[in-house]
Symmetry: C2
């Protein structure tokens, strides 16, 4: 227990605890001398206010919560780092909960451990919970989730358009057989990107083949394995290009292709999403649709803090991607001998 309390300071300084409180929170009502005297005593005693007492009384914790299923990988660390820094800048702390336990989540949110929350979509907080949060006037911003709800905020990346544009880009290079490496079907981004991909294919009357939709789980290993087994099962159906659900899958995909003796991009083009920090350094550097992850984090925090401090209404913010063309994609080479490798 923090030994020295406001009472000790009051006693030592020979004033009342309200005077100490006023001095510490510089409520401008005190005689300047009294104030500085109190402050000196507080310093001398190494007084640090107990935050639990403070929080109980004020109802504010100056903490924001981030609830997620993972913090691993470039997507999450970029996000977390940007949010944590923005919190720090704004005088908040960030509580990171890596859990799927609804009880933990709800007792922390409704138990007022934090003044507001950022929720990563994969948690799929159900409607009932959202309604309860609304009733309790919880301030919340959802990431990568389209929330119909009026009072909650959300920041999403426009994955549909990103998928659509990336596919159109590949088509424009002359690729016809384009495969998609999907994430998990509970993930908004994965689904949206696939929808965009399918829309572009249909628009160009290109083949929509179920075999061309692989499961890579948004992870390097997942994509690697998916490609390996695809090449094994359908050696005759080699696509012209792979559209990977995110950069991590693109990297796994390229590794798998390389290990089978294919060259990227001259044999097969690969495009990813996100433009994670290592995308530009990979060999070959990844063509990708940039998702300003750090910006998402900052926007989410800023919005949340405004909702808390300025009673701002929750709003939807949708960020557009930007196609970054690098070395992992190129114009389709029409080979004379169709059976390469």
């Amino acid at each position: 227990m923090s030994k020295v309390t406001i009472k000790d300071v009051a006693r030592e300084a020979g004033v009342s605890i309200s005077t100490v409180s006023n001095a510490l929170n510089n409520v401008d009502v005190l005689n300047p001398e009294t104030k500085s005297h109190v402050l000196n005593v507080a310093k001398r005693l190494n007084y640090v206010p107990n935050l639990n007492g403070k929080q109980l009384k004020t109802g504010k914790t100056k903490m924001l919560g981030f609830f997620t299923t993972s913090v691993s990988g470039p997507y999450f660390y970029t996000l977390v780092e940007s949010m944590a820094r923005e919190c720090d800048r704004l005088g908040y702390g960030l509580n990171v909960f890596v859990t799927r336990d609804k009880g933990v989540i709800m007792s922390n949110i409704l138990g007022r451990r934090v003044d507001g929350v950022i929720i990563y979509e994969e948690l799929r907080i159900d409607n009932e919970d959202v309604i309860m949060m609304m009733k309790e006037k919880i301030k919340a911003v959802f990431l990568d989730r389209f929330l119909e709800n009026e009072t909650m905020g959300s920041v999403i990346f426009d994955s549909f358009v990103a998928g659509y544009e990336a596919t159109k880009y590949l088509i424009s290079l002359g690729h016809k057989k384009i495969a998609y490496i999907s994430g998990v079907d509970t993930m908004f981004d994965s689904v949206q990107r696939k929808e965009g991909y399918l829309a572009a294919l249909r628009e160009h009357q290109l083949l929509v083949d179920d075999d061309y939709v692989l499961q890579g789980y948004f992870e390097e290993e997942g994509a690697y394995n998916a490609i390996k087994s695809f090449l094994h099962m359908h050696p005759d159906k080699l696509p012209d290009a792979f559209l990977a659900g995110n950069d991590l899958s693109a990297i796994g995909c390229i590794r798998a292709l390389k290990s089978h003796g294919f060259d990227v991009p001259s044999d097969i083009s690969v495009v990813g999403f996100d433009d994670i920090d290592i995308a530009q350094y990979f060999t070959p550097p990844l063509t990708t649709v940039r998702n300003q992850i750090a910006r998402q984090g900052v926007l989410a925090i800023d919005h949340l803090v405004r909702m808390i401090q300025k009673k701002e209404q929750g709003k939807k913010q949708k960020l557009a991607g930007e196609l970054i063309v690098r070395g992992s994609s190129q114009v389709k080479i029409q080979r004379n001998d169709p059976g390469q490798e």
Copy 2:
């Protein structure tokens, strides 16, 4: 404010608040019927205990704090993920503070926002602060820092031995001119690894050349640039091997070497440290000294929780590395033409 409090539950159930409290915390003193009745009412009213009230009274927050300068990159995300999961498993939450602001750090620690803290060494909390933390009986575990202090815990990786062994390994392959890519000199691991490297060189009467100690800042880009400028400034002093301060620098180093037309490992061997998740998938797969990062996180949390719950004394835990030989290193090839490329 969470509208419904324990008082509301008490009133609605027709009992006293102490009875409600006892029912909720199943203190076994109540008539089972009373208890279940109270529980039902609480559930019906969607009662969630206010954590600030609870924390104030009990003096426990069931939160641990992690104070660090960054959460980016494989090292940190592996660490944070493992700590957050272990916290969740043990019924704690994790507060992540990415800051260098001593005021923020101290007011959160001494203000009892958390029951205990994990401190990443780079923060270099000074001795005065450590003493104050001791006086206040703060439970703390330091990561990657050798704390002389008796009452605080620490978990470190034995970077000296790791550096020594890695260097000896390179020497055993026949390499003589071995360069080291250092991190920052305030980082324990970087310094220790370098010391181990130097010790091994001396032991084998090998050249200790200041030009062979580069600054890579423990980052991919940093190492990349360091190698580039080294190759530019000393084209005649090409080493046989690079010992990179961590895997990220090893990756940057290899990229730079490749871009100059060198092959790794046939021209130059490269060895890293940590065995980050992508090390095995890199091309070539990295030879590295494994640092069980996730294990460090778990050990730190477990130890901290025991210090809190079982009043365990703070102790020092030192983890040994393990050399993982992969594709980025090989026996030195004695070329006839010493001036390759």
